[in-house]
Symmetry: D2
Subunit: 397 residues, 4 copies
């Protein structure tokens, strides 16, 4: 048993399998990838890494597997999947995800390549673990995969708690012990006993509040968007997106510096925190025709605004955050009478999640400090931004 | 300056006024009154007192007064009101409130008596503080009183954080620093800058989740209800409700022991944790005609059930928790454009508070272990409890 | 499994045995006995009880037994002993211990009576647990008993952490997880691997610093001494010390109130925090002949001073705190070479413990505010207190 | 006022001066320099930076200046010095300090260059702050400088607490609030009231225990030593040490990668955590003639061992940690009688610090896994390491 001190869980114990997986180059790389990308520009303590988060998810998955009394094989697979679930992340976590998936046509959960080759492929083979099975668990495609990638999963339990610890933002404090205590298997699926409903609500609300406060804080959105376009330019100028995906944070920064040009300028601005500023930052209720904006590509819209404003295209950035993809509230709750209901029927709070996420959504147009006013005027006109909120019918949305 | 170590706020500094107020018999009494009444029967750590909570509220009120740049007189009044806001509590905090207010026709916020007489009256006079003004602040009747008794007040900020610390329930962790940072005066009233909306949401959700988990946990509801009826009997047998109101926890327990009879049995059961059990425990959606129950008095309904079940009246207890009285969401939010809006227009989460509190409401019928089945049958019939949820139109409610 | 929320350990799980033991009247009584006696007069948050501490010690003993891979019988005995180790405490924990043990000639670790009779005796019999064995474990008389009552035991691990949480004093934060991880069995005795030495040092230093800061804080010493004499008078006036020993805090307070006279005055002063004050408070280096004082009984010395000062005897109290009985540093440390050494040979810090405890020792003479000066003069003369430190040779000590 | 969320202090408020200083390139650079160098290889959470530590020290210095009622000019200087005290650090904090100071003949506290030029020089000039004065405060050369660089200073208060938060090691939890509350000015120097002695002891013991557990943990010592030699080689091969000193962590890693050769191999090993192993790791009491080793240079001794073992010189590393330079215990304590004494006379614990630091000292010889046994044999002979402890007289030391 190898024991690792973790500020969240106290001590994380790795069995031989976990230790050998963690020792591979592919996993060690996660030591040098920040969990929250560039959020440290806003929250100076947010320097924690995918590596410790992976250890934390592994730790929780082991506790949960024991509580659910999974058989040994399933438990091993789940623990491996939890440990490896982020091995596919590009540098700076989500920051590079969008641009790289655009070029590579795949997402970070698609880790089959990494699971089959290299030191990690060997280590998995040593323990008779099937890459295909692990991959499916990581993607939450099988019922047990809900433990790793579901509505109330060990990934979320760990990252909310961990992000709270490092940013200092209290909202992430959740009762993961109670969640795990009240989880149960029903018809081969993960379900929650009624006694865990408030803990689940708490997790979902925590996540909801962490979005505008941390994950979508406008300063880190701006830095992310800048980096996103910087990397895009680098690829368009010939860099190999596959190589970028395999970098860690240090390597990406070094690559951008030595690339010079626009990418070099961008990384220089980020490192000295001379960021672009918000020219426009509005909710959907300020857009006359939000559908029009939904349909346009960010880059295209940015070019149009730049043209109207009469400035160089790459100095106007348009940021349309994606709304959370999956509707919450589907998790099965087992009532005291033994009947199953979806979480949203039991919890009024959960029904409001979608519209609350919606309310926090902001369209951002960013540019340099000196061009701010010009871009603002151009963008307000071009995007048909209203001074006062507009009431949209649900169809507009 | 007197400095007191507090596990929540680190050190609380009392100026001369606060020290002299805190040193009075009326305030020292709060050292021996538990903040959460009998909740320690469920959460063994919940032994904290009204005294430390009062110090905490005082501490926060001082920080808030400084942030709001109140003039010296207002600041002094507010700090005194925060320190004294719970001086009117009867023994075991809320547990005895209902029964005593029934007999005394007043509530614990009515503290004018205590503010005018005794050591406390003298101490207030020494510092030229007006009992009438303090009383109005404590009741939240003036605009500044919202700091002590409002939607987002120092009372709530302190007790949520404190109750979380002592029970170990995570939900109470809130960002009171941010709340205070974003509070502002607008047109003579307390308002919140937009940047504090998520912190306010977090406070309101915390409170919402603390209700079913801690404040209305069924075990402490049962113990409370038992004590409520025990005290009622004691008064009906001749005890002076005014004297009971002035007791602390120790004195009440001692009085019930030496009273013997039903009150003596009840306190014996509580102290050895041989509590009544739930015969019925259902939400409104299981009641065929909730309105009928809303209109009846608890004691009357209990007697009727006892008669049907054929057991002694005082061994059936009916518990209809009161729903939070005030609609949340009225606090003024100051947008970036300087416009004022009520919190509920800005926050989808807040709109759902009322129905969420509603969903957590339970009607309880409690009795001794051995009578459980008989009482259950009788109560189900008498109260027209349905096996399956009934859909009520809003008028029923 | 019954699960109880604890602010220190998260959730404590009780198996059937533990639940049945905890449900007895003897254990439920500990819910109403404060862990730190009257320390809440200094640290308003220090209202935690022997009950939750007992649950905590039980929880840690289970983890430790599993780590040490004890056989099932030993593990069960240890867990029972940890749960029950404080069942013999009189009201207000250590406060009444001295006076009661004087009258009863026994200490709180002597719990054989309580283990053989009543609900607790029955519950132990139900699970085939031998009172005699449990008693020996509680007193630390067998090698395994060191887990419950030794130099680095679950009792200390829990109370230091718990006292820190409730008082807010940081010194009690220790790494009990590491301590348990590095504990091992060697030749039938508990030993510590070298990797745990710093954690053990930290525990011992924590305890050292908690003494003057919390356990021996002069205000709670004064209140304790007052109560000690109040109870002594009550017994001398006819109260049965055996009955007092069986009371909880509430009952003792009620008994003192209804006793009236000196005990009634004392408890009134404590409850309104009108305490005696320090007339003299000095370390050994200020005493001309400390040996003389060591030999005298506190009550006798107090009477002599009162006579000199010309005031009533019971209004002068003399307080000579006992120094920790057992020399620290005997725990066996297993070096990397497998050799055993006592902790004190490995740790310079530990060698200093005794003299550090010594340096914190204070002789106190307490009296009412108005008699302070007179008593001070009388005591300084009578006890031969020097203005400047006196160097004592070790023989004096 | 700019407000920054910090997980340790809640919110840190920057006035205009502090904000403008923090916004300079020189200070932003500290965002990318890890506080604990390579300790994240042992404690995966230890990714915090010099930047947040600088904000923390600034925050505490402001509180302390207010408590001490410094005049406005002194307070401003102290706050600037606290904010800037680490601006001279090279990449990876202490890791590169030794090698760079060897080449540059200066230490990181020598920041006069950085304070006079560039954005930082301009910002200081804007606020009329004198580089010379700031530099002297940072080096603790003036009485007030003890607040920033002394025995009980804001630097230590912040880093112990912060390192504990991020590593999860409990020992760093100290009571900095009490320390600051009990600090006072006496004869123009910082002193401590007697009531703060235990808090000071706690800080010094915390630091003592953090050394072997975190700062001198053998795994991070190995990684540090490897990097130290890697950088040394890079300089010997022509890299400019002055340029290296100005890099941040990212730039140093990138430089080592692109340097290739030995430095490239070393950084590759560190990044994939394929570290050298301990061939020898012993305290002074295992050395026959410690003085001989004290006198030799690490590099020279390593070459000798490598020669004996017959392997390439750079694959044997010798590590002789420096003992803390300054004797502790000189801080002035103000007794209740108003007299001044050095801390070590009041505190037995402090007298033991030096020998306790001594006891934790280890001589390390590191090499690759495959050469471990050969190097062990060679080193044991060459360094005259004994199997059993040798008693040294104090002169040997």
């Amino acid at each position: 048993m190898t024991t690792i001190k973790d500020p969240i869980h106290g001590y994380v114990k790795l069995d031989d399998m976990a230790r050998d997986l963690a020792d591979t180059q592919e996993m060690q790389r996660l030591r040098w990838i920040k969990q929250l990308g560039l959020a440290n520009l806003v929250y100076p303590g947010a320097n924690h890494t995918r590596f410790e988060h992976s250890l934390g998810a592994y730790h929780l998955s082991g506790l949960l597997a024991r509580h659910l009394e999974l058989d040994e094989d399933d438990a091993t697979d789940i623990r491996a999947a939890a440990l490896l679930h982020d091995v596919g992340h590009g540098p700076l976590s989500h920051v590079t995800e969008k641009v790289l998936s655009g070029f590579l046509r795949e997402e970070h959960e698609n880790v089959s390549d990494r699971l089959k080759r290299g030191e990690l492929g060997d280590a998995l083979a040593d323990y008779g673990l099937k890459p295909h099975r692990i991959q499916r668990l990581i993607r939450g495609e099988t019922p047990l995969g809900q433990m790793v990638s579901g509505e109330v999963d060990v990934d979320r339990m760990d990252y909310l708690t961990r992000d709270a610890h490092y940013t200092g933002v209290a909202y992430g404090v959740i009762d993961y012990q109670r969640l795990m205590e009240t989880m149960t298997m029903r018809d081969g699926h993960i379900a929650l006993e009624e006694g865990g409903v408030h803990a689940a609500e708490s997790l979902l609300v925590s996540r909801l509040l962490m979005y505008p406060t941390v994950y979508f804080h406008h300063v880190s959105r701006i830095a992310q968007k800048m980096l996103d376009v910087g990397v895009r330019v680098m690829v368009e100028e010939g860099a190999d997106p596959r190589k970028i995906r395999d970098m860690d944070d240090t390597e990406l920064v070094a690559a951008m510096i030595s690339s010079g040009g626009y990418p070099g300028e961008i990384i220089g601005r980020i490192r000295s925190r001379h960021l672009f500023k918000r020219a426009v930052y509005v909710g959907r209720d300020r857009l006359e025709s939000p559908g029009m904006i939904d349909r346009g590509r960010e880059g295209r819209i940015a070019e149009e605004i730049a043209e109207v404003a009469g400035i160089e295209p790459l100095y106007v950035l348009v940021d349309k955050p994606e709304l959370p993809r999956i509707a919450e509230g589907n998790m099965a709750i087992i009532g005291e009478d033994g009947e199953k209901k979806p979480l949203r029927e039991v919890s009024p709070l959960v029904t409001i999640m979608e519209s609350a996420h919606f309310a926090a959504w902001r369209l951002g147009v960013y540019t340099t400090e000196e061009n701010r006013e010009r871009v603002k005027k151009a963008a307000m006109r071009h995007l048909k931004v209203r001074r006062n909120p507009v009431q949209h019918t649900f169809e507009d949305i």
